[in-house]
């Protein structure tokens, strides 16, 4: 049976080209792999290889023809004795072109005549994103004792408890084992769990992040500690391209249950390369969850949730907060839902939204504002992605005013996203533009006075609140 040879497209954008030269002539034998002709586009000259075997029966487009449309029949190949005119082609392209009935109905209607491409639906409307409903925190049983713990202890307990619970959980990173952790988060874990599960890595963030991703593809549950998230920029390709996107690219086959954790943002006087806040960066990426706790209780409950989560979770800690004390409920298994904000302090006059280290400014500002007769509601987002915007919107509907607080840079900040969401979802409730307090738009300076100026402070939050409350 004769087979049509079509003018090929060499790129997705090519529509036509020049048939420069035939390298075979009618009557020649061709086999797959033989170069039969050369064609030229605006970009390059390319060769056409035969895919099928047989005799070149007929050349329909002669040498030097310009403007040959993609998918035009340029020649026919077939068995000896076949006539050129014989109706060809079990070829799928031809089939699609000539028998549109074989492709899905909507497709044939939607497909342009020269593109034999069935389309499921000629849809110009994008289906709506599914709504994400955040779970509520679990009830803490009445009579539960609380004990004061540092964030550092809470994080360590979370890892230890999860490692006891599940042998698939392991910790890897720089200085996590024998050194007992650069910031002592993993202190004691090597003694309890041994070198198989608490693994010192060389200083190769890109490489060990990738090894963690591979281990997670295989079903283990790695906790990858970065000494700081500043160093994770070396690994960000593995985090985003491999960990975050693979579930989608695999049509749901390849989950990546991994936690990337470590201190994020500015510590003190460590200069520009060690002081960056990545909340907004990772918060942009579909396929990631991004958690940034403030209190020890949240650090514990959310890290346990992150380790159990079947998705890649970015867990942003803060070196300064590691030593802060908070009350943590004494429960055997305290797990909090990722994606749920917490109302840290209820109030009626203004909503202050923050997370992580930013909460230290927000909380102090709220205390001082109370003395000035302004009753602020303070929301701790806790999770940057998926963001519990509903809690924020409900608060703003009550207060009519909002100020966001974070240490990261202003452009494309978490506060910018919150401001967008508020104007889109609570526009009629707003009594003032949304205020946004961020780190200054500069690399972090080293000098003590300049660093202080570059970071947000309580006074700025108070000023912003006074501005939106017109007081």
């Amino acid at each position: 049976m004769a087979i049509d040879i079509l003018m090929p497209a060499l790129s997705p954008t090519m529509e036509e080209g020049t048939l420069t030269k035939w390298l075979k002539k009618v009557g020649d034998d061709v086999k797959s792999g033989d170069v039969i002709a050369e064609i030229e586009t605006d970009k390059a000259t390319m060769e056409i290889e035969a895919v099928d075997e047989g005799k070149l029966l007929e050349i329909l487009v002669p040498d030097g023809t310009e403007g040959v449309k993609v998918n035009a029949v340029i020649a026919r190949v077939g068995e000896e004795g076949e006539t050129a005119a014989e109706k060809p082609a079990k070829d799928p392209a031809a089939a699609a072109k000539e028998e549109p009935g074989e492709v899905p109905k909507a497709a044939a209607e939607a497909a342009p005549a020269d593109k034999p491409k069935p389309v499921a639906q000629a849809s110009s409307t994008v289906p709506a994103a599914p709504a994400v409903k955040a779970e509520a925190d679990p009830d803490i049983p009445e009579g539960t004792a609380f004990e004061s713990k540092t964030v550092r202890e809470a994080l360590r307990e979370a890892m230890a408890e999860e490692m006891r619970r599940d042998d698939n959980v392991f910790l890897m990173g720089e200085e996590v084992a024998e050194y007992q952790g650069a910031y002592k988060i993993s202190q004691g874990l090597l003694d309890e769990f041994g070198a198989r599960r608490v693994i010192d890595t060389p200083i190769t963030e890109h490489g060990f992040a990738g090894i963690g991703v591979g281990a997670a593809f295989a079903g283990l549950r790695p906790i990858v500690e970065f000494m700081t998230f500043n160093f994770a920029m070396q690994a960000i390709d593995q985090i985003i391209n491999s960990a975050a996107k693979t579930l989608y690219m695999s049509g749901g086959q390849m989950g990546c249950p991994i936690v990337f954790r470590g201190p994020n943002g500015a510590a003190a006087r460590v200069g520009a390369q060690h002081s960056q806040d990545y909340a907004a960066w990772y918060g942009m990426i579909p396929g990631l969850k991004v958690v940034m706790p403030y209190t020890a209780a949240d650090a514990k409950g959310l890290l346990k949730a992150a380790i159990r989560d079947p998705n890649p979770v970015i867990f942003l800690e803060n070196e300064i907060l590691y030593g802060h004390h908070f009350d943590v409920p004494k429960l055997d298994d305290y797990v909090l839902p990722i994606g749920k904000a917490r109302i840290h302090k209820a109030g009626k006059d203004v909503t202050i939204v923050s997370f992580g280290m930013g909460m230290t400014y927000a909380v102090k500002a709220a205390e001082e504002l109370a003395g000035m007769g302004i009753d602020a509601e303070v929301i701790d987002l806790r999770t940057i992605r998926p963001m519990d915007i509903e809690t924020v919107i409900n608060s703003v509907k009550k207060t009519g005013r909002c100020v966001t607080v974070e240490e990261g840079w202003p452009q494309g900040s978490v506060g910018s996203e919150i401001a967008y969401q508020i104007q889109a979802n609570a526009f009629d409730y707003l009594d003032a533009p949304v205020g946004r307090i961020t780190g200054k738009d500069v690399p972090m300076p080293y000098a003590a006075n300049l660093e202080k100026l570059a970071l947000p402070n309580v006074g700025e939050v108070i000023e912003a609140v006074r501005a939106v409350t017109y007081r």
Binding site: L6, P8, A9, L10, P12, S32, G33, A44, M46, E47, E49, V51, V70, N71, K90, P92, A93, A96, V103, P116, P118, V119, A120, Q121, P127, A129, F170, P202, T204, H206, G207, F208, A209, G210, I211, G212, V213, G214, A215, A216, F217, A218, L220, D237, Q238, N241, S242, T246, L247, Y248, M249, S250, G251, G252, Q253, M254, P286, G287, P310, N311
Partner: protein
Amino acid sequence: MAVRPATEKRSRASAAPSRTQKSGKSANPAVNYQVAEFDKDDELKAYHDMLLIRRFEEKAGQLYGMGLIGGFCHLYIGQEAVVVGIQKALRDGEDQVTTSYRDHGHMLACGMDPKGVMAELTGRQGGYSRGKGGSMHMFSREKQFFGGHGIVGAQVPIGAGLAFADKYRGTDNVSVVYFGDGAANQGQVYETFNMAELWKLPVIFVIENNRYAMGTSVSRSSAQTDFAKRGESFNIRGEQVDGMDVRAVKAAADRAVEWARSGNGPYILEMQTYRYRGHSMSDPAKYRSKDEVQKMRDERDPIEQVRKRLVEKGWASEDDLKEIDKQVRAVVTEAADFASADAEPDPSELWTDILR
């Protein structure tokens, strides 16, 4: 660097390479060009499996030309002996395989369904990733194929991570990670070499040296063009292998797999191979001469080598081989028909598989 000669006679003639075995802690044993003994069934299967990849890729090229496949499409034509030879040394469904974006051949060699692979190329719902991955991103848990990665070199630590999991769980599975001569210059490859040897991970690094990283030849991009030596400073053994001879590939893979499975850690195999087509469909490959390509096709073709042996040994007649070709073509045509007629993914798929 010249790809080593392929015929049995010439392979043996080159069995005394310039490099000699070093004593003590040297990473590399003497280069070994011996070929595996293939009986009739081995040869017939290798012929069939390589031909399936060749015909599949030719068809993919054709569908690309017709606009049915979009974006990038990297064909594996010429390199078939590498994946077919390696896969013969693996335990199907247990040992893991990871590779780059030139991945169709690897998937077929792993036993993945040509229909599912082709339908992914055309972006249809019946594709392995339901049309959401494309030519560069497919996976199969069942066949232990872990992609399909689009960032040059990124699959290398991932493959080592799979080996980490094998070791962590106490299995004797091995992980094979393929990458090209171009990727072999990426930093994360060496980070991975270091940890793989440090932790004795059961991973086999297969460097498919097809001589060109897109349009840049090995000699223009690599200070050390002997890729088998790239693990030397980590004490990882490496071998250069005639990647156009499926029997040489199999023999080398057997050694590497045995090494890794026995708990000795990683192993590097530099497969000296050649890609006939451009880097991707839109690459006219002006950086090499037509003669160079034609010479490879004429003298070194991996499929032709097997075909010749089959005929010479009387293990298959021309008619038998035609019959195999017919069967393979039928499978490929079926895959193409399916991939052309299958529907695109439902619009609701836009929002699925982002999180679990």
